[in-house]
Symmetry: C2
């Protein structure tokens, strides 16, 4: 990425999302690269850009809730290392899981963007999303992001939602719209969002765009000609960035998804592509691949029983796995620990009432009571423990950044700290691997003669194929 930074820095972007989400995990799990070093590199190479990150609220970049001190420390260190814009979301849209992180960002003087996760269900309305946006503004958010991770935001709702937020919160409240391209409709949705007053929309450079990713930046720029709207982007810079990544991308061909065209059936199934392939592989492991249709019909039921959570990490995996369990072993005969936690409120509140019978099963299964408080309120101070555990690890360097790495990835961090001095690994293929025309050696078809020395004497031995 470093080779494109000079062009990115001068292209005119409002911000550059370059950290957080799964990038931290990928750095330490696969690349032997310190994510904090990466952040400082971006800060150095993008001196004129706002750096932006995606933060999973009280989960930070990990997969559980953290106590407030850890959240505060993470935000403070990210800001100190160069982060400018924190886009903060919660998978259940439970704003109590966003509040600590948002206030921490405000204390650093950086930009705190409150996020509404968009989804479709019988209980999710434009009105509800606008309410959430209003509460985020009241909480102190500097701007609002509408996050459509599953590409479900159609043009008309995009217009209604952005217009609704502007009308309720004020025309001067910045609204950013983040969509994926998966279903093929969302560039049209961005056009309508812009007409409704959106201040920024998220895209990616064309050579890394489309499929499960984002819409192409250059197409957005061209699309606006003659509409009265425009971007401030420099087309020559965009072309240079495009060409850079067009060269890079083929080296990662083995990591490409099998995505073809567009997946508009997500609108009906409510099952994002990544979730579907997860469920398929779970079924395959149980020799039950043929039951995928049953599982796809079970997902909306499980989602209803859980109070219609948006399907995004981690709720998509939790709901999907439980649907597989229900089909293979009978409905709610077996519960995953995570699904029990979801039903009992340990991830936060749901929009709709959860099914009381399933709550009762979850209570029995998990041997704990449902909660209605903010999940993190149940956690006791943990920083000192994390600090001493981290300092005990070979290769840890005593910084708060290392403590945070260990806190979020306790399984992966010890190995990473110990191998960190070796430096980052390059996982690309410099040239694409050739596909062999013939797999393995040709089978032997004719008799083969060997000279075999046996008890000191050499014999000519001929062997016919077995």
């Amino acid at each position: 990425m470093t080779g494109a930074c000079a062009d990115i820095d001068a292209a005119g972007y409002w911000s550059v999302e370059c950290w957080g989400g799964a990038t931290y995990d990928a750095c330490i799990r696969f690349l032997n690269e310190d994510p904090w070093h990466r952040l400082r590199t971006f800060r150095e190479l993008l001196p004129n850009s706002r750096l932006q990150m995606l933060l999973r609220g009280q989960n930070l970049l990990g997969y559980r809730h953290y106590e407030d001190t850890v959240v505060n420390r993470f935000v403070e260190r990210a800001a100190a290392n160069g982060m400018d814009v924190f886009r903060i979301f919660d998978a259940l849209n439970d704003l109590r899981n966003i509040e600590t992180a948002l206030r921490a960002v405000r204390r650093t003087g950086k930009h705190a963007q409150g996020t509404v996760c968009y989804t479709i269900s019988p209980v999710h309305t434009i009105e509800h999303f606008v309410d959430l946006a209003e509460q985020l503004v009241e909480m102190g958010a500097d701007s609002i992001c509408v996050k459509d991770m599953a590409a479900l935001l159609k043009p008309q709702p995009a217009y209604d939602l952005v217009r609704g937020i502007k009308q309720r919160c004020g025309e001067d409240v910045r609204v950013h719209v983040h969509v994926h391209a998966t279903t093929g409709v969302t560039l049209v949705s961005l056009m309508r969002a812009i007409e409704a007053g959106a201040d920024a929309v998220d895209t990616s450079i064309s050579s890394l765009s489309l499929g499960p990713g984002h819409n192409p930046t250059e197409s957005l720029v061209e699309m606006l000609e003659g509409t009265g709207f425009s971007t401030r982007l420099d087309k020559a810079r965009l072309l240079a960035i495009k060409e850079h990544f067009a060269t890079v991308r083929p080296r990662y061909a083995e990591f490409e998804s099998n995505f073809i065209g567009a997946e508009a059936e997500i609108f009906d199934s409510q099952i994002p592509g990544g979730m579907l392939s997860n469920m398929e592989s779970q079924l395959k492991q149980q020799d039950a691949a043929a039951r995928i249709k049953e599982v796809m019909e079970e997902v909306p039921r499980v989602r209803r029983d859980a109070g219609y959570p948006p399907l995004v990490t981690p709720s998509s995996q939790i709901v999907g796995t439980q649907a597989v369990f229900n089909v293979l072993m009978g409905r709610y005969k077996v519960l995953s620990g995570e699904f029990a936690d979801l039903m009992l409120g340990y991830y936060g509140a749901a929009l709709a009432e959860r099914d009381p019978e399933v709550i009762a099963i979850a209570t029995q299964h998990a041997k704990k009571e449902p909660i209605t408080c903010r999940p993190a309120d149940l956690l006791s101070a943990e920083w000192d423990n994390l600090l001493s555990s981290t300092n005990a690890l070979e290769g840890s360097d005593g910084t708060d950044e290392d403590v945070l790495t260990y806190a979020m990835f306790p399984q992966v961090a010890p190995k990473f700290f110990s191998t960190r001095p070796d430096g980052p690994k390059n996982l690309t293929r410099q040239t694409p691997a050739p596909v062999p025309a013939v797999i393995g050696p040709e089978p032997v078809q004719t008799p083969v003669s060997y000279d075999v020395t046996f008890n000191g004497r050499t014999h000519k031995i001929t062997v016919k194929p077995g």
Copy 2:
């Protein structure tokens, strides 16, 4: 394709484009398949659908102008074999090259769609395209198609163009919009075209969509929700068609283009992707690959000198090749025969005045004078010659259809007629080549018996794995 026809026939499409363009050429050149047999197969398998074809006006499906009798005979045979809708265009938008075919379609009672090729240049205006549409309606066209083969039609011009045609020609004149997805903006253009009153827009099923192809059908259907517009398409049928072609497409993986994402820079260079790769390969053959930037700057000059033709087959190849010649050998030092013909009017009229100096060079080079008449007016009756030439070929069957095949593809037809009895060839890989986790034979797990000859005597020897 036959496996998807039942679903296609019941899906609710206004028409199914399934013949013409390059499909005829591909049938006889690569597939050893009679294109007329293919047409009759579609007619049989799609009894409730309008079959549609793309016809290059006076060029039919070939690469030169044909005398009117040949054009009339082609249209008559296509209609008799089952074609319903003829979409007729000319690469230069010279309507005199469309008229004979259009009148021939009218005589058969089938649907004659007059086509306007969309392009961008200093002389091409919405007003001009609307004028063309009006002339086509006056000529007897049953409907108008706006054909955007290079994906240059942006949302605002799409609106203005469709609205302009409707206002000038009447709201009841059907307007169809055909765009490619190449630049990434055109689904938005279709939305705006629909808002302007377009009656039909062209898409392809998602598993065959995007890249240099079309926008995904299913995305269009979903996009319209809540907008007041809708299609009559059956989503369950679309899903079945999608899944069918998602299985078929990987078998043709070796024929895929290297297209990634979107190519918005076409708006500036005016050079469609296919034209660019043509020029690159021409330069490479001359060991001059490094001069591609000079050629790209030369293309707009050559296009200006030729009176700003739209860049579509064959004008794109003619202009591109001349630009390569100009860079390698000096401007207009060497002319291709086709470029001389283009400059002298032998492909038809240009919108802007052609450069008089280049016309003079072309006159000298081709040893013929510029013309202003309809090019086909210079041709003398040719059917009888074509008939006797065809009948002299081994394997020809004496039908008008065979004469037309020979007329359009005189180099390819003789071989095709002689091999036709062998039937169509399948060029797919039936199953994708498996990517082996380990390259090499499976380890031996069970005892294997061998016949071993040792000092002239044969023994049965059984070996257990070590």
